[in-house]
Symmetry: C2
Subunit: 253 residues, 2 copies
DNA sequence: TCATAAGTATCAAATAATGATACTTCAATC
DNA sequence: GATTGAAGTATCATTATTTGATACTTATGA
């Protein structure tokens, strides 16, 4: 184990958490050996941690394949999170209302370090699975939600973000030029919304508006995803934008 | 710490997990002292665990109040869970379809020990917050979903459940008589659906149908909640039940 | 069938967690 | 605004617990 200065740091617990985080969308179940590979821990340590997590109900274990999987307990943790975050209960009814009225996919995104995380998602029939489930994280600079939040932040913070936050190219259309993103944020600051086209997925247009708190700053955004095959920007601005501004504005500060 | 026989059991990790589980819908943030009270651990241990969990991004800490809260990481874990459970991706499009068509709250429930857990929820405007968010656990015997699943299980399993699983009285109408529940399960076995009225909440009717796997057994159910003020059982059976059976039946086995 | 990898069990060594205690900061009350 | 008790933080000697090497067993597939 690396030298951990602080005597309050409990290495064993941190190791256990690494096993939990070893699971993601492309690692839905892991064997002992795979856990060793993904966590970088000793085989013995992984054996003990996995045993303990299983014993405590945090990992499911297939007796046949001996592979470990996330358990229902991971959803219970999400349940506790939902109650703990006051924004969720304020935003949910507004999003439901919007979703029912327009039938388009609508999400609540929150800033989470240099990423955004989707904390509420109301999918429609056409929505891809990855875009339907909560907890997804995306680099903030590459999303309409992230940009429209940044548009409410101080000049210093925006500069820092533009210089340091990560950018990941997900489609041929992904803008990786930080200058261009800076312009987009400036535009969002002026317009009060941000639109991206095919940044994370081709043929997907995203429209995001900020959820502004009392101090004028946004740490969250409401975002709509539509297909570029059925919408163009003009129609999006005409039909969806006003309602989306109402939705975000209606979330109690 | 109690004597833990198995040398593979890592007590420190188990203790850390207790901090996470100390949070729930009525404990959305906890101070150090409250964590001590709720976990039953030593003050020193809680201090170290909380520090570590915070350091690892699993707990948010308000610098002003010094209280701990669940972090976004708890949603990320849910994201990993969603990918890991193959039922989710199969059920989601069907539930969305139903939700759009009927505009009523629809859920996917799965058995989780002697409880059911809601793993997908598509709320409508009238849905209460607690009924809108995933991860909620309810005693299986008290829910239409739990009963309709049990209806597909072996006689021995049902007997065992009826004798041992917990029952919690949530409303004046909650049925706590295990005989009556046995009858209800028998009825569900015959009908292929289960209806409860005001069991968890007054003025709420639940209709559940099983998601049956190849072996004829159900570990999941699709469930609709409607207000008893706008629906009666007859209307529910006439208008909703056929579509709900289609929805559940359409989930690929 | 054999060979090899994966998973499981054991144990001596010593690191890292423990929990008692002392110190500091906060917040409430007079 | 000073006083007081509770909550939070820091420290450290003790020792229980984790550690990680190794041997053993069970799977897998060539």
């Amino acid at each position: 184990m690396e030298k951990k200065q602080n005597p309050l740091f409990v290495g064993t617990l941190a190791k256990g958490l690494r096993l939990l985080r070893a699971f993601d969308e492309s690692h839905v179940s892991l064997s002992l050996a795979e856990l060793v590979a993904r966590t970088g821990l000793e085989k013995s340590a992984v054996q003990r941690m996995a045993h303990t997590l299983h014993h405590e109900g945090m990992l499911e274990r297939d007796p046949g394949t001996r592979r470990y999987r996330p358990s229902h307990a991971w959803l219970e943790l999400a349940y506790a999170y939902y109650w703990s975050d006051p924004l969720i209960s304020r935003a949910l009814p507004k999003l439901v209302e919007f979703s029912r009225a327009y039938g388009e996919t609508v999400n609540l995104a929150q800033i989470s370090g240099d990423h955004i995380i989707y904390s509420l998602r109301l999918p429609n029939q056409r929505t891809q699975f990855a875009a339907s489930i909560v907890g997804r994280r995306l680099p903030a600079l590459g999303t309409a939600s992230g940009r429209v939040m940044l548009a409410t932040w101080s000049k210093e913070e925006v500069t820092h973000a533009l210089e340091n936050w990560p950018i990941r190219s997900a489609t041929p259309k992904t803008i990786t030029d930080r200058e261009a993103i800076a312009e987009d944020i400036a535009r969002a600051k002026n317009d009060g919304y941000s639109i991206t086209d095919g940044q994370m997925m081709l043929n997907e247009i995203s429209l995001a508006v900020p959820v502004i708190s009392i101090d004028g700053r946004a740490n969250a955004a409401v975002q709509v995803s539509v297909s570029s095959l059925t919408y163009d920007e003009a129609r999006l601005k005409g039909e969806i934008l006003p309602a989306l501004l109402d939705t975000a504005g209606g979330i109690p500060g």
